[in-house]
């Protein structure tokens, strides 16, 4: 048994500057090649420019970031659809791939709305965030959490985080959380918009 019932990430959108140190720390720790990015930082922007009657140009442009990896969901659709049982929920509630079983059919990648499972060209199997299970076992923080210069990203026991910070993860550009019940607790940015009702757009689609 692990030390946690269910691990979860905590993310404060107001603190994040979009520097992507978390993303790079993750790539470094797991030695990920180009094309595999287990942690990504979608940027969601909106608002508009106005020209007033006096000719003054004003705006209410806003943007916010969400650092996102696998959310080790309570209702993981990747585990449900995986035909080989390679994708499984294990110790500490971490969802991971057994590379000895995976057939590389990419069905998990097709199903996951967070783009968490990614194909590894070298092993011809799927790969994904494993919550830095090796570091967790040694009592260390995941590489992404340790790297965040703004302390916007944290982790902990899902139940405790929710009791302390609430249970919000249905924010644009993420899908409604009821679909897979992600273990992600977000402290919303003042301009954060509810999933499916956003007026903004994903500003960095090629980075996701």
């Amino acid at each position: 048994m692990g030390a946690y019932k269910q691990l979860a990430f905590l993310f404060d959108q107001s603190k994040c500057t979009g520097c992507k140190a978390c993303q790079v720390a993750c790539k470094d720790k797991h030695d990920l090649p180009v094309g595999q990015t287990w942690r990504r930082v979608p940027e969601y922007s909106g608002g508009q420019w106005r020209i007033g009657v006096d000719g003054a140009v004003t705006h209410d442009i806003w943007t916010y970031y969400t650092s996102l990896s696998c959310n080790h969901c309570d209702d993981p659709i990747c585990v449900e659809v995986c035909p080989s049982t390679a994708m499984h929920k294990g110790e500490n509630g971490i969802v991971s791939v057994d590379p000895a079983l995976c057939i590389g059919c990419k069905y998990c990648a097709m199903a996951c709305p967070y783009d968490a499972p990614q194909f590894d060209e070298a092993t011809r199997t799927m790969s994904k965030c494993d919550f830095c299970a090796d570091r967790i076992t040694k009592g260390k923080r995941p590489a992404c959490v340790a790297a965040c210069p703004m302390c916007a990203l944290d982790f902990g026991e899902a139940e405790e985080l929710r009791a302390k910070y609430g249970d919000e993860a249905s924010l644009e550009p993420l899908p409604e959380q009821s679909v897979t019940r992600p273990n992600l607790v977000i402290l919303p940015h003042p301009k954060a918009q509810p999933s499916g009702h956003g007026t903004g757009h994903l500003a960095n689609p090629t980075e996701i």
């Binding site: 390679a86 995976c102 709305p113 679909v179």
Partner: protein
């Protein structure tokens, strides 16, 4: 394109199931037909369905990152529809194959062979259902609808019946001669194929209306892909299906009017109609994968 293998696999597997079921249907109405007439109907169609399914399953393994581990895909039967799909595909292949060999060699009593054929057909229909559920992902609004099973079963009926008609028309061309049962099979299966093609066309507006009314932004992205980005392909597929159905009906009418031996008279128009229908279904299936949009980022 990763999905190319899936396009080929789903179409060939559905064609094989449809051809097997269509052949079963004509057998039900085979009373009074001579054994020789029946064999000349079964032979060509069964030789078509089996190899096509083997080809489809082989192609489906090609899309895997690690094809040599394909057998692992059976480990999650009961939870993963993909496992169920592969299991039912293998069931249908083995049962259908044993039935074809038994028919050929006249093994067992006719009653036992029929029972085997019914079980094989049921596993084939189960395969088509499992395929539709594989794509009914709750994270893909354009797929998680009753239209997915409806379209897959229509494809099964359409491609299956038209493939049997084409193989019978070809065999009539190669080995002409009186065969009332063959002519009757061609007539009924052509009518079924034409009806299935018309139904496929009729379903499209309902599907587009469903997408338009869907609250999720991802459904709107799929809708835009279908009606703005790829509209020529969508329209083209409908035209090909409609033209194929009309050509099949035209060939039938012409054959009857001329009171010629239907099989021989029909061969060329039937083969062209089959080509049009297969091409129409191919384009529709490519569109099915090309318009896949997930909730979340996909809806942005």
């Amino acid at each position: 394109m990763h999905e190319f293998y899936l396009v080929v696999f789903t179409l060939t597997a559905q064609l094989a199931v449809g051809a097997f079921v269509a052949l079963g249907l004509v057998q039900v109405f085979a009373h009074g037909a001579a054994a020789g007439e029946r064999d000349r109907v079964n032979g060509p169609a069964l030789t078509l369905a089996g190899p096509l399914l083997v080809l489809g399953l082989a192609v489906s393994a090609m899309h895997l990152g690690s094809p040599l581990r394909a057998a692992n895909s059976l480990l999650h039967v009961g939870t993963s529809w993909l496992s169920a799909e592969i299991a039912l595909g293998l069931c249908f292949l083995v049962l259908g194959g044993v039935f074809a060999v038994a028919e050929w060699c006249k093994w067992g009593r006719p009653g036992s062979r029929t029972a085997l054929a019914v079980v094989a057909a049921l596993s084939g229909l189960g395969l088509v259902w499992a395929m539709s559920q594989v794509y009914s992902l709750r994270t893909v609004p354009a797929w998680a609808t009753p239209f997915t099973p409806v379209n897959f079963f229509l494809t099964t009926l359409l491609l299956g019946s038209v493939a049997v008609v084409a193989s019978l028309a070809t065999s009539a061309h190669v080995t002409p001669g009186e065969n009332a049962f063959r002519d009757r099979s061609v007539l009924w299966l052509s009518l079924i194929a034409a009806a299935a093609a018309v139904a496929t066309i009729a379903v499209q507006p309902a599907y587009l209306a469903y997408l338009t009314d869907h609250p999720d932004a991802a459904a709107q992205v799929s809708m835009d892909l279908l009606t703005v980005t790829y509209w020529p392909a969508l329209v083209g597929s409908q035209v090909m299906l409609g033209a194929g159905a009309l050509l099949l009906l035209f060939a039938l009418v012409q054959a009857f009017a001329a009171r010629r031996r239907q099989g021989t008279a029909l061969t060329w128009p039937v083969l062209v109609a089959t080509g049009l229908i297969v091409a129409g279904e191919l384009v529709l299936r490519i569109l099915f994968y090309a318009t896949m949009t997930r909730i979340g980022f996909g809806g942005q």
